[in-house]
């Protein structure tokens, strides 16, 4: 055998390392750089030189240091052991790194993606002689108390089962079954498989969006709903509550699994997620939230190239669990940091910049990422979905900047966070005028069938009241509310009830942090009931101020706290009270 050419570092510029005069690398190949084995990826190959982006700090890398090709594209290991863990941008478990390096993250930490020592209680569900294709489930592993891991045949493999291991405890590297393919070759299949992060995992077909991802957040579920398998963007300047909204969604949405990617964000925030999710109980399973969560943390001071990879690592993990037939929700906080990482690397490569220094391929990268979301029939014939919710941090809170604009093109829900709402401590600060959901018509049948036939109608009325208020506010700002005619004053008053009583939601209040759809519906219904009843009063010539003085508005504003989520009978009492009060006022 000919000795492989020894490749060495020629130049270093930030995270970009060059190797000269070699033909041994292919694009997006994983490489190990230097004596410390820093993980990198090939990003440009020319006849003269090969460029490698390194996912760790390159301090101390010298010309002449060895560069070893791994022979595979940058890949992640998929298998049991991921759920409940916290990983960095290239799937290295941070707990294992901490055990090795202590408080600070060392470099070239050679810790594999998954624990290869741990033995998993495995139940094989296929038998010898069965024909399996790529994506078929062959074994089940109880990964956490609440999460069942379905091990699948890698997508590119198919054939007849010629051997199965008995049920028992296995590591992720031990063969569980053996498959004989069409050519008569035998392949061992184990619990773990590898997959290149930049390549979408295959599925059978895409499905239409018919089921909402229920989040328990009123402004989202009732006003701007998102479908399972859908895409959403949360843009907002700093301090508007992007991260808070992402946390609320991760805690309460009805997905089977959450992949939470902290991409270039604060270290303390990841710690908070770890702490909080370790204590909170998932209302559906009764187990800790960490048992259905995978955290990927690449904080803002961790290497920038790994930040770029972390988004792909996250979506690959999400797709893997989707293929088992689960509904997976991926939160990316924030995609702007990912775009900035692209810009940074692009700058180092001296590529011609497009808008604001971002590379010209920013839109195509964004669309490729968001297109990996979807509701699908998997290769094994189950229904699964990946919902992607990406936070965007626009520079200077300016929504016309390239990342926000391009994200808007490829996502179908836009929850615009508003600085002025946040300053007034109106949370979630989702602006009802700028936000939209294109899934609303697709999901209306679900809400109307499952909750109430009037759901869609009430939603439209609530939204139109808010719109009317905003145009009236233009007048109020100029001349005050006192001069408005009574029917318009009523709209302003009711809109206040909607804003404060319905749209505002207190994430720290035990009753209000998660609100079931039924209660959301009843709240809308009661508010509209008050509106209709007051209208009849005004039509009879009674002043609108009477209703305001009756204290009903305050009662409605407080109903989110006063009426428990588990007992909605309070709404009937409230409706009756509205009728009585209005009757009394009409008689005066």
């Amino acid at each position: 055998m000919m000795e492989a050419q020894r490749n060495v570092v020629y130049g270093v510029n930030g995270p970009v390392v060059t190797v000269r005069d070699t033909k041994s690398f292919f694009m997006q190949e994983m490489v190990l750089v230097g004596k410390e084995h820093l993980v990198g990826e090939v990003i440009r190959v020319t006849s003269k030189e090969t460029l490698i982006q390194v996912y760790e700090e390159t301090t101390g890398v010298r010309p002449g240091d060895p560069v070893e090709p791994a022979g595979v594209p940058l890949s992640v290991t998929l298998g049991p052991g991921l759920v409940g863990d916290i990983l960095d941008g290239i799937e290295r478990p941070l707990r294992a790194i901490a055990a090795k390096d202590g408080v600070f993250i060392g470099r070239g930490a050679q810790v594999g993606g998954l624990d290869t020592q741990k033995r998993w209680e495995t139940h094989v569900i296929v038998s010898e002689g069965e024909e399996l294709s790529g994506g078929s489930v062959f074994a089940e592993v109880r990964e956490t108390e609440s999460f069942l891991h379905r091990s699948m045949v890698p997508p590119e493999l198919s054939g007849m089962v010629v051997w199965t291991a008995p049920d028992g405890e296995y590591t992720i590297e031990e063969p569980i079954i053996r498959l004989r393919d069409m050519n008569g070759e035998e392949h061992p299949v184990c619990l773990a498989q590898k997959w290149p992060i930049r390549q979408p995992r295959p599925f059978r077909e895409r499905l239409p969006f018919t089921i909402p991802l229920i989040t328990g957040q009123r402004v989202i579920d009732s006003v701007f709903p998102i479908a399972k398998g859908g895409t959403a963007a949360i843009p907002g300047g700093f301090g508007t509550g992007k991260t808070m909204t992402q946390h609320q969604l991760a805690k309460w949405c009805d997905a089977d699994l959450i992949v939470y990617v902290g991409c270039g964000e604060r270290g303390n925030e990841m710690t908070q997620v770890l702490d909080e999710f370790g204590e909170l109980i998932d209302p559906r399973t009764g187990k800790k939230l960490t048992e259905r969560t995978i955290l990927i943390a690449n904080t803002s001071n961790m290497p920038v190239a790994a930040r770029e990879a972390s988004i792909y690592t996250g979506i690959t993990l999400a797709e893997y669990f989707r293929d088992m037939g689960y509904d997976v929700a991926m939160m990316a906080d924030s995609t702007s940091r990912w775009a900035e990482a692209l810009r940074e690397i692009s700058g180092r490569l001296e590529e011609m910049p497009a808008e604001e220094g971002f590379p010209a391929y920013l839109p195509s990268r964004l669309s490729a990422f968001y297109e990996r979301a979807g509701s699908v029939t998997t290769l094994c014939g189950r229904r699964g979905s990946v919902t992607v919710i990406g936070a965007v941090s626009p520079q200077g809170s300016d929504f016309s900047e390239p990342v926000t604009q391009n994200t808007k093109r490829f996502t179908r829900v836009f929850w615009a966070l508003d600085k002025s709402l946040a300053y007034a401590r109106h949370y979630p600060s989702i602006n009802w005028l700028d936000s939209y959901s294109e899934y609303e018509p697709d999901l209306a049948p679900y809400f109307n069938a499952r909750i109430d036939p009037h759901f869609g109608e009430y939603r439209r009325r609530i939204v139109s009241l808010l719109l009317e208020e905003s145009s009236l506010m233009e007048i109020v700002k100029l001349i005050g509310a006192d001069v408005l005619p009574d029917d318009q004053r009523l709209i302003i008053d009711i809109a206040r009830v909607i804003r404060v009583g319905f749209l505002q939601q207190n994430a720290y209040h035990p009753e209000d942090t998660y609100v079931p759809l039924e209660k959301q519906f009843h709240m809308m219904k009661t508010i509209l009931h008050l509106y209709d009843a007051s209208r009849t009063l005004i039509e009879k010539g009674k002043p609108a101020s009477r209703v305001a003085e009756s204290g009903l508005y305050e009662k409605l504003i407080r109903m989110k706290f006063d009426i428990p989520n588990t007992d909605l009978s309070g709404f009937d009492t409230l409706d009756a009270e509205i009728d009585q009060t209005v009757e009394r006022l009409a008689a005066q």
Binding site: Y10, G237, N268
Partner: protein, 459 residues
């Protein structure tokens, strides 16, 4: 074996290029000795084969292609550290400038630091009582937080920083375990002297380590000043178990130095000419705050930055706000009214306060009071806007009450003396007193119990 290289191949701005260099690593420290014996420091900014680009911190003035001798130190730039750094004054690259000789070091640390592993962090919860009402009640400072002050030229950010440092010290229960690290980047000499004097007056000077790069010091040196300061802070906190308060001023000068360096390297600029990696670079500073498992110390950062043209959407405050855990924003209009500290409470925010206030930390009613004050004060702005259009006389009774409340809130609650330290009880009680200027029906964030407690049954 240390090889020295005679002469240079290129000098351009703060960068020098050497050819024929072997065996050096990226970001390694370089020492450039001139004929007259003066030594300047630099670090390797780029390597292409045997061609090496070195960034010289003190500038390249006086360099020719022949009159220098360059030595590479074989390690990245490092700082010698021991408990003896307290009470000392260093220049922007960490060399003593107080004439007291070198630091006898226990260890030497790479000034670039390493990222703290998120799983090893302890989520900060203990609040620091600064004695300043606007901060304690509405954007509480938490031990281990990074809370910048966004200011503008001519506003009293330095006074505010000094007040925070000196009053926070008094509240700290473990006095001996308290230290201040002060990093000055491009500030005027008299500002640096002011800080020194104030630390002396507060009697903490022997607990302060100062890293000074004043406005007449080399500009490129500024890019390492905060790194030296934070390396010292991490050592004091995580090796010696101290609670360290790091004051860094002025971050705007730091970013400008970074921009100058970036453009001299010919990098593709991002917004307003700042390098595309400004976010990552700032994060590599601000993220060096917090508390970690198994260590009793903490690093709390109070960076100060002046917003060019008072523009909060300028890249420097904008990117800072995305990294730090809140911000304290100073307001020119309040400053113009003579209110000190001129804190704009609506724009200010502390992200960590929600878990550090209330029962067991400050007082049970803190969160409700805070929400109500924010909500009421934001309505003051609407009332003022309306009054500007239609005149105060035309306002409704409620709106007039809001104007009164706004006035009182600014002049009595936000405003306080430069040496006045209010306890948390005083601050919260004052907050209730302010709210009572409004009718009970306007209290939309209080639960009925608190409402009855403070406003009685009827009003």
């Amino acid at each position: 074996m240390i090889i020295s290289y005679q002469g240079l191949n290129e000098v351009s701005g703060s960068l020098i290029a050497l050819e024929g260099v072997t065996g050096v690593g990226y970001e390694e420290q370089a020492e450039i000795r001139m004929r007259d014996g003066t030594v300047r420091t630099g670090k390797i900014a780029r390597i292409d084969g045997d061609r090496v680009i070195v960034q010289v911190f003190e500038g390249t003035s006086g360099f020719s292609l022949e009159n220098t001798e360059t030595v590479f130190r074989g390690r990245p730039m490092s700082l010698p550290l021991s408990a003896g750094i307290l009470g000392r004054v260093f220049d922007g690259t960490g060399k003593p400038r107080d004439g007291l000789g070198p630091v006898f070091s226990d260890c030497v640390r790479d000034i670039n630091g390493s990222a703290i592993n998120p799983v090893e962090r302890v989520y900060p919860r203990n609040y620091i009582c600064t004695g300043i009402s606007a901060i304690d009640a509405l954007s509480t400072l938490i031990r281990g937080q990074k809370l910048p002050i966004f200011s503008g030229y001519g506003m009293k950010h330095n006074e505010l920083a000094v007040q925070i440092v000196s009053q926070a010290k008094i509240a700290g229960e473990e006095r001996g375990q308290f230290a201040v690290v002060f990093a000055a980047m491009g500030v005027k000499n008299d500002v640096a002297a002011y800080f020194r004097r104030c630390f002396e007056d507060a009697g903490v000077l022997d607990h302060v380590a100062m890293f000074l790069n004043t406005s007449n010091d080399p500009i490129i040196e500024r890019t390492v000043t905060p790194r030296c300061a934070l390396t010292a802070a991490e050592y004091l906190a995580f090796d010696l178990g101290m609670h360290v308060l790091v004051v860094m001023t002025d971050m705007t000068s730091y970013c400008e130095a970074l921009r100058e360096f970036s453009s001299s390297k010919g990098e593709i600029p991002g917004r307003k000419g700042y390098p595309g990696y400004l976010y990552s670079d700032l994060a590599s500073l601000y993220e060096r705050a917090g508390m970690v498992k198994g260590k009793s110390g903490s690093v709390t950062q109070i960076p100060i930055l002046t917003m060019p043209n008072d523009d909060i959407s300028h890249p420097i405050p904008d990117l800072t706000g995305y990294i730090t855990e809140g911000q304290i924003v100073l307001d020119r209009a309040l400053n113009g009214k003579g209110i000190y500290p001129p804190i704009n409470v609506l724009l200010s925010l502390s992200r960590l306060m929600k878990d550090g206030i209330g029962e067991g930390y400050t007082r049970a009613d803190h969160a409700s009071l805070m929400n109500q004050l924010f909500s009421s004060y934001s309505k003051v702005q609407d009332a003022r806007a309306l009054s500007a259009v239609i005149g105060e006389d035309e306002l409704s009774e409620t709106d007039r009450r809001y104007l009164q409340f706004g006035q009182a809130f600014e002049t009595r609650f936000i405003a306080q003396g430069q040496h006045e330290s209010r306890s948390i009880e005083e601050t919260l009680d004052l907050g209730w007193e302010m709210l009572k200027l409004l009718p009970a029906s306007e209290m939309d964030r209080l639960d009925p119990k608190l409402l009855a407690e403070h406003f009685g049954e009827g009003d």
